[in-house]
Symmetry: C2
Subunit: 766 residues, 2 copies
């Protein structure tokens, strides 16, 4: 089994690396990433580092369409795979002390620590450099990406000689010589447009090839000391200033570097550089302390709304906060053109691209912890891509819309037929997100104005994708890959059939609602979408005659046709050396086995649990859970929630543990490539939707909480329709406090409870 690496110090609000393990540096860099929704960077060092590192700076929405790699070309494959372009390194400060290049791969040093402060969202690093004459120099670096002024970043670099006077040479710079490590053919993604270095300031404008996104980085800096000399530096794609100075023993030298990064996504091309230069100049005027104070205040508000406190389990506390922190760093909902990538701004593999993870796993977190505009923007992202999704279905010879498996601009980027063409259930998640959002926010206006066409085109896709079987008088969906990607090209995946029919039903319901409540709007849609009665009748026929594979002996739905023909094995039959299967078994062996990668039938139970009684949910759980290997970081959370639902509290807690510290403990040995951002939302769900049994339905929020044995208590907040409710689950008591907003009736264990403003309601824990 996996041996966990407890590398970071446990702390409620911090992630601390004490001492520097070079071999672990890529993992630490991922964990120590900063982001503010507009941009992000890995926990790289400001000063040069010649050891193993992934220098990573990513600007939201700035991508390069890299030529894809395929084994055997198949008709319909996309031509490119969008890659978030690794952008100019803007934090860099080259440091020399007494002519020694500071480089922690080559220099002697002691007392190293690198600390991610989650509360105030900054990175702090310090170490004591040992010079060749054994004298010591303390160095400290702090940095943050401004949470409000999202184009701004600041680095404070501090040097103090402990033993004697030293000569210091500092070069704050902007370096565009950065390549994506994941470039398929080693291409450099950027063209240099312009660059300039002046006294105390510099800028660098690079433009992505093919996509022509212009990104200008401008920097200003200030220093609290006399300068001996100053030089302007201009190299290829590199611009900066070199200064020299002398520092007395115990004199603290502070270089503050302010950077602004503006892009042509937000400005006319001829204004991009101008704005960056202006913002950087304003930042140096305002100064590090003031900028940081604004930033910190903004983060305090975020934590006010989305924190989870866990008492009695510091590791769990650190884990859940790390996840909430990274989710809030990755996506802030300020721009509907952006979305949530599986690795956010923390690495390159799949980085910054959108999967169904957003709808299925992330949306509930953002709905419950932010103003509804955040969730709305996540939905608008898909609404704005509707035309592309229609094109995508058309490429496959089908009507309606098929949302892509992986995308950044609405076009499909994925190129494996069994996923690209067959993992079509993703379309259902996009539709279901509309319901989730409406359900949660009550924003029916969105449904009528934006939700309906999305639902209609997805329904059209399903209606064309089904196969009518005259022999059985049933509709089937053939040749799909379900959420369980350890099955490919199967027939009648229950989850897919189920969510297809659900989409059709919900679309008809929505149609009826609009027709009744907004008849004028309905007429508009009828004309623009060319709606006809015969089409709706056909949908009803599909709804009535959909085929669902069923296992009579177990009284449960079958994952797909023929699932029971497989040799039935459970996790207990696996040996240590088999795990994880995807690394140890050939693909055909995985496909032939009964092992399930991630929640599939259970994903359907999770979505539609109101349609099942407890007994039936239990039957499904007990059959499928032992067959599931949870080799996706998105699996355990769903099982954990269902386990909570059916009273298997220990199991729910065990399953929650699988992902609670996934990246902090590098559980899957792949955190070096970046963090598992979208799966972090799953941990939040395990706690809030699972342990606390939270759900929103019928315009009301419901709780059925329990307290995991190991914990003393836990608290979280829920934002619901302009209220903020604090929930406390203790050993004996459960407490609900309406911190903000008007009085509200909630349901706890099925009983109504009226919450009044600034008042708490206390119940006994069952």
């Amino acid at each position: 089994m996996v041996i966990l690496r407890k590398y970071f110090e446990v702390d409620k609000w911090k992630v601390i690396e004490n001492g520097f393990d070079k071999d672990y540096n890529r993992v630490t860099e991922s964990v120590m990433s900063l982001g503010n929704g507009h941009m992000g960077l890995r926990g790289n060092f400001a000063e040069n580092y010649s050891g193993d590192s992934l220098q990573g700076t990513y600007i939201a929405g700035i991508y390069y369409p890299d030529k894809i790699v395929v084994g055997w070309w198949k008709n319909g494959y996309p031509e490119y795979f969008a890659k978030i372009a690794n952008a100019a390194n803007f934090i860099g400060i080259d440091v020399q002390i007494n002519n020694l290049q500071v480089d922690l791969n080559r220099c002697n040093f002691t007392d190293f620590s690198r600390t991610l402060n989650m509360k105030d969202a900054f990175l702090k690093r310090k170490f004591t450099l040992i010079l060749p004459d054994s004298s010591r120099v303390k160095i400290m670096e702090k940095r943050f990406l401004h949470q409000i002024e999202k184009e701004l970043a600041a680095v404070s670099y501090q040097i103090k000689s402990l033993d004697k006077k030293i000569n210091i040479k500092l070069t704050p710079y902007l370096d565009g010589n950065v390549k994506n490590e994941d470039a398929n053919y080693g291409d450099f993604f950027w063209n240099n447009i312009e660059q300039k270095s002046k006294k105390n300031t510099a800028y660098l404008s690079m433009e992505t090839k093919k996509t022509s996104f212009l990104v200008s980085a401008a920097m200003n800096w200030e220093i609290n000391s006399e300068i001996n000399s100053s030089k302007i530096i201009e190299k290829e794609n590199f611009t900066g200033n070199t200064i020299t100075l002398t520092a007395e023993k115990d004199e603290k030298i502070i270089l503050n570097k302010y950077i602004a990064v503006c892009t042509s996504r937000d400005y006319n091309k001829n204004k991009v550089r101008e704005n960056a230069v202006k913002l950087a100049a304003e930042a140096v005027q305002k100064g590090y302390a003031d900028l940081f104070a604004e930033h910190k205040k903004s983060w305090a508000e975020i934590w006010q709304e989305s924190d989870i406190e866990i008492e009695g389990d510091p590791e769990a506390q650190q884990g859940i906060r790390f996840n909430i922190f990274q989710l809030n760093q990755t996506y802030t909902g300020h721009d509907p053109r952006l979305n949530i990538g599986p690795k956010g701004f923390t690495g390159e593999k799949y980085g910054g691209l959108t999967y169904w993870d957003t709808e299925a796993y992330c949306l509930p977190f953002y709905l419950a912890t932010h103003n509804s505009s955040v969730g709305r923007n996540l939905l608008l992202y898909r609404y704005n891509h509707l035309d592309k999704a229609v094109e995508n279905a058309n490429k496959l010879g089908l009507n309606g819309a098929l949302y892509p498996m992986v995308t950044i601009n609405g076009e499909e980027c994925h190129n494996e037929w069994e996923i690209t063409f067959e993992e079509i259930h993703r379309n259902g998640a996009v539709a279901h997100a509309v319901k989730d959002y409406i359900n949660y926010t009550g924003d029916k206006k969105y449904l009528k104005d934006f939700g309906f066409p999305v639902l209609t085109e997805i329904s059209r896709f399903w209606a064309d994708r089904v196969t009518y079987n005259p022999g059985k008088d049933k509709y089937m969906i053939l040749g799909v890959t379900g959420p369980n990607e350890y099955e490919n090209n199967i027939n009648n995946n229950w989850y897919t059939n189920k969510i297809a029919v659900w989409t059709l039903k919900y679309t008809i319901k929505t149609k009826n609602f609009i027709k009744k409540e907004f008849p004028k709007k309905y007429n508009q849609w009828r004309d623009s979408l060319d709606l006809t009665k015969s089409e709706f009748d056909h949908w009803k026929d599909i709804i009535n005659k959909m085929y669902y594979p069923y296992l009579e002996d177990y009284n449960i739905y079958s994952q797909q046709d023929g699932y029971l023909d497989k040799e039935q094995k459970t996790r207990e039959d696996l040996k240590d050396e088999d795990i994880p299967l995807h690394k140890n078994w050939s693909w055909d062996r995985i496909l032939r086995s009964s092992y399930i990668k991630q929640a599939d039938v259970l994903q359907g139970i999770y979505y539609f649990k109101e349609e099942f009684d407890k007994e039936s949910i239990k039957n499904h759980f007990e059959f499928y859970e032992p067959r599931t290997v949870h080799e996706s970081s998105l699996s355990a959370c769903i099982y954990s929630i269902i386990a909570s639902e059916i009273g298997k509290q220990k199991k729910a807690y065990q399953l929650y543990l699988r992902t609670s510290r996934l990246d902090l403990d590098n559980y899957n040995y792949d955190t070096d490539e970046g963090l598992h951002i979208t799966s972090m939302a799953g941990t939040w769900m395990s706690v809030v939707k699972g342990f606390a049994g939270f759900e929103a339905k019928n315009n009301k929020i419901h709780f059925r909480p329990f307290l995991p044995e190991k914990w003393h208590s836990y608290n979280f907040k829920i934002i619901f329709r302009n209220r903020r409710i604090k929930v406390h689950i203790g050993k004996e008591k459960i407490k609900f406090t309406l911190e903000k907003g008007k009085a509200l009736k909630i349901s706890v264990y099925g009983q109504d409870l009226l919450l009044e403003q600034n008042r708490s309601a206390i119940l006994k824990n069952r």
Copy 2:
């Protein structure tokens, strides 16, 4: 629909290009390829040509393990894809006349023709060059690859000035600066080991990187004229001689170039160059005319045994001879380490690698037209790779042997999971070839010494690959791709289940035979293969309880589980713009459709037709044929044979036409990439096994001939157990002549007929 290009002149024994179409040059180069089993080359020009061309020279068995390209790596994929290395150009002769570089892309010329003489297996090209002063020079090139001395090639280059005295500069050379066009990463596959140019002779030794095959080419030349000057040429990977001379009006200058190509596959490395140099020197001694006479004689013998004559249809005549010619050029059976590549020596894509095509489509041709040692060597190829096949199965976590989908040295090269891991029926074809060979030759010694372990390990694979289904008390084979590659990852492909059970049965039968007839040998096998009764009992259980999908409504076997759940469409429902599906439909649409790429159930009917009555064969044919799009060049021949079998003669002929001139008319628009060598055997089968109803069973050969309407008659030869029988099918009469060997009883339309030596038996055509 496809518009055929009738580019080449129709001739019974030749393929003639009259006039030069530059845009068609790659197709012509493929068609005009020469080969002798040891090496081959495309119909490139000897003199420089700057236009579009694939300069291709391939030496059998000399490959480079090119790093594979995959979309998404899957565990079990091979690391490399072997590529036959495009080797040094040895035919090259640079020609300048009055300082004009002869280059048909740039010079003016007239009266161009390029002719492949199939009877005598040589290429002849001529044209009249028009010099800038409008004077004319006739140029002719002839070349052949020696059919007996397989390491030898000869080029005769002839120049005659028609109007005035000219100055000629000639550079016969060896040029190793040749790259594979299909190299995945543009790598150069060769290292230069040594090279040398001397008066009238030169050599060049190149070695493949990684695989370290040493290939030495040596050349000698002679000229029938005084030389003005002579110069030794040495450049990087290039060695040759430049000579200048003067030719009078009407004087015919003849440069004969003799090349020997030896490799470290046949000699110790330190002897390779020595042998090449020696052979080339001996060749120049013998001279072009004598060498060609030997070569021609050898080809006369080949035609004596394998020709098919068709009277009344010159296009069909040319087509079938072209196929027989190319098959004999590609594989001569002289070396059991070699096999038949889908493109032979005529191109790079899949070139020179072995597929199940060999066993399923080519073996019958070589059995019926050659001495049995040729077929035996095809089988030994697999016997010699048995250990690798066991390793390959082991990689997938399975017992026994899985022969690779694509190989050159026994290791798997293919890297698409649905083929590599799932198209396992190929194993059955390897087993069935053993039966075919034994059946045909009666060589039971082969069965006991070499066939049995191959059969046993393949049986072990099947026994491990099946899944026992306790609910149904049946064995199933899940997750396969059948011969119809337009279905992937299906359950219970009837053909696969059928051939698996057949293998088990035949292996047990073979075991019983060896045990009875060669008990000592049996005991050896029992010990070395660790045979046990319980293993055989398990096989018998599988034989008895194999599950076969069946369509009750049609009284036929189902291609796979759930085939009838698909929307049932036939070719008639397709529009012109849909065809070919693989170019016009997305992959998922193809997979979901009922369309069949190539014979699948029918492949099983073909192999096991004795088990079916005519009615049942007809049912299967009538259901599956209209659903089959024949988008593999290996499909139509099987359907044609079955159509012949059930008396659908017109259909049989139509199906035969699909491949009879596939490359001559560039039917699939891909002949530029090389010829479809293995499918050429299918055309032969359509005629001999189909129209003539030829088969060998129970130690006897059988015929049920008919004459296609359009033909006046057809003749072919059958080599069977040291006899040569000439078969003539005329409009009224059918004639069998025993040309060689002892008297033999054959069966015609189910009636026995005794053939006596040098005598003919004449029957009425029914």
